[in-house]
């Protein structure tokens, strides 16, 4: 009779501990989901701002956005191909990677960086010299 009672108490204790464990895991998980969402929003804003600022950079009187139009029109892409990786290397944290793509008339005329798989993507289209260029930056 006494043994049965002890077993029942141990069983009850086990159930209470199990419920406590589940409750704690639930509280922890419900909080961590929120932080991930915030981090994602922040990364999104950062990627968009980086792409916008990148296209405005002037180096020795030449603008990166104009260089891309030049690259699209005359396949003169050497300067953009050397400058963009240089800028990205300066601004990105060590260990981060990127992929920069520029498309005009459905043709991808420049593709830089080695970020494959999932990442935060931002698009920045613009029209210069009657040329529509769509730029895409992905940060991993």
């Amino acid at each position: 009779m006494r043994k049965k009672g002890q077993t029942e108490i141990i069983g009850l204790l086990f159930i209470v501990l199990l419920l406590m464990g589940i409750g704690l895991i639930f509280i922890k998980l419900s909080n961590s989901n929120n932080s991930n969402e915030l981090a994602e929003i922040r990364s999104n804003i950062e990627t968009t701002n980086l792409l916008k600022a990148l296209l405005k950079v002037d180096v020795e009187g030449e603008n990166i956005g104009d260089m891309l139009v030049e690259c699209s029109l005359n396949s003169n892409c050497g300067r953009a191909r050397s400058l963009i990786p240089d800028i990205m290397k300066t601004i990105l944290k060590p260990g981060s990677s990127y992929k920069f793509e520029a498309v005009s008339n459905g043709v991808m005329f420049i593709e830089l960086g080695d970020c494959e798989g999932s990442g935060i993507i931002s698009n920045q289209p613009y029209v210069r010299q009657n040329i529509f260029v769509e730029n895409r930056l992905k940060l991993c």
């Binding site: 804003i45 980086l50 600022a53 601004i91």
Partner: protein, 177 residues
Amino acid sequence: MVVDCFSNKKGVARMTETILVLFFVVVLISAVMIVYYKINIGNIKERGFELSEEGASVLLNSITRMAEVSCNNEDCLDIVKILAFREVSKRQASYYRSIFGNKKIFVERLYPESLEKECEVNDFNSNVFPGNCNKITIYEEVPESYNSKAIVSSPVSLWYDVHGAHSLGRITIEVYK
């Protein structure tokens, strides 16, 4: 008489058992409540930290649109305006403290690279500007003691009117709590 004594002992034993069970139940509930509140307080602190980061992110975006520092028709920060604003914010400290609070806001030039140094008015007047300095503190109000510091930053385009050129920079807000 014998029967009475026996039933009395049994009753005491049952009462003791009930008291013990009640005691353990109360201890268990208290333990659960303590653990729950500890976690909750931790979560609230974390949420508070996140909210201050969120607030700083919103401020970061609004600063880049503030007439005092932003370019006229473009999405960028004007270095000349920033240098002027730094002086104005010092002179009208109480007004800007009511807007920004306990924060440090600064801008760094990242590309093209320049000397790692805080920019002063003398540096601005130099021929080698902006190559002679890379950082401008827009606003600084750091409390003597603080519990936590949240840092939020974002890339930004910087406009150098003297050279008529854009550079790539980063605006950072440090929030002190």
